[in-house]
């Protein structure tokens, strides 16, 4: 389980011995590379956990740090520093990949705060019918049936214009629903970023439910697109 490092413990730089309590890749004092910290992905970029991220700034910082970690720069460095530069690079890449994607970032932050996402759903929790409304399941199921019919028809070399049309319609509809979910997620981001503990807990619950819904919709859009394009 991931843990939020609320206030990182001050660590002394191995080189200049000045204590720094940021989970940074480089010592803020002497600029020497530091071993990978136990901090979260946000701290790699010197950020506090948040959901509304300045993506341009993030990308910029990613490139700057990547350059600073480039192996060429450590060609003459000690063995430790070489190892750390590799480990830091791996950490930086993971952190960037996770944070730049809005959904991955949201899931990551929620996990940091103890939400059960994906494989970690507890049994009790997932039986809660409010998590995914039954009518959505019905729709998902029916559309999957249609998709199957269409795939079978295509295999036989048949073209069913009516089916094709209804699939196009369904695709547009579910893409619309996906957009709605994403808008709602973004609204919760701001609530989480600005909120106190109580507001955050509420936003967190909302987001977990939205992400569940999103997974069904996303599968559908993917499958419909595949079938239509095949």
């Amino acid at each position: 389980m991931l843990k939020v490092i609320e206030s990182a413990v001050p660590v002394a730089c191995w080189s200049c011995a000045v204590a720094h309590n940021e989970a940074t890749l480089f010592c803020p004092h002497c600029s020497k590379i530091q071993p990978p910290s136990g901090g979260d992905f946000f701290s790699v970029f010197g950020l506090k956990p948040c959901l509304n991220l300045d993506l341009t700034g993030l990308e910029h910082e990613f490139h700057r740090l990547s350059r600073k970690l480039h192996p060429d720069r450590f060609a003459r460095a000690g063995e430790n520093e070489k190892q750390w530069s590799l480990a830091d690079t791996a950490l930086l890449n993971d952190a960037y990949r996770t944070l730049k994607d809005p959904i991955h970032r949201t899931e990551y932050l929620l996990k940091l705060h103890g939400a059960e996402i994906g494989e970690e759903h507890s049994r009790k929790d997932r039986r809660d019918p409010s998590r995914v409304p039954a009518d959505l399941l019905e729709e998902v199921f029916d559309l999957n049936m249609q998709l199957e019919e269409m795939r079978a028809a295509k295999k036989m070399g048949e073209d069913d214009p009516a089916l094709q049309a209804s699939l196009e319609q369904a695709k547009a509809k579910f893409e619309g629903l996906l957009d709605e979910v994403d808008d709602s997620l973004r609204a919760q981001w701001s609530k989480w970023d600005a909120g106190d503990a109580g507001a955050r807990a509420a936003a967190q619950k909302e987001m977990v439910a939205l992400l569940d819904r999103r997974r069904y919709l996303n599968n559908l859009v993917r499958d419909v697109t595949e079938t239509l394009g095949a």
Binding site: G118, E119, H121, R126, F141, D212, R215, Y216, N218, N219
Partner: protein, 139 residues
Amino acid sequence: MAYSDKVVDHYNNPRNVGTLDKSSQEVGTGLVGAPECGDVMRLQIKVNPDTQVIEEAKFKTFGCGSAIASSSLATEWIKGRTVEDALAIKNTDIVKELSLPPVKIHCSVLAEDAIRAAISDWKKKNGVAEAAAAETAAQ
């Protein structure tokens, strides 16, 4: 991921794929989803009104190989059992039988959920209270 032989077998030759008449009084339908991955499964049972024995079971799963195998196995297991007996099937039994790895446990949970949902739909349709059904089964 490497699937066990049993999973492959059920995947290639799924048992009891199909549909039962949803509107029939004797049929219970369970439609469930796995929030972990967005997969969906429908499992239907046809119950003999006198004996409460599940005479028919059909499923349709849109999901991974493990989910298909789990639901295929589930229909095999519940056929011929009474409704209350079928409720005793746990997802862990499915995990064991199919040797599912930890990341695929939720697929077996989906099958257990589907059995429960189908049975509770049938009970609702037939006005069978949970406790009353348990008594009948115990007799």
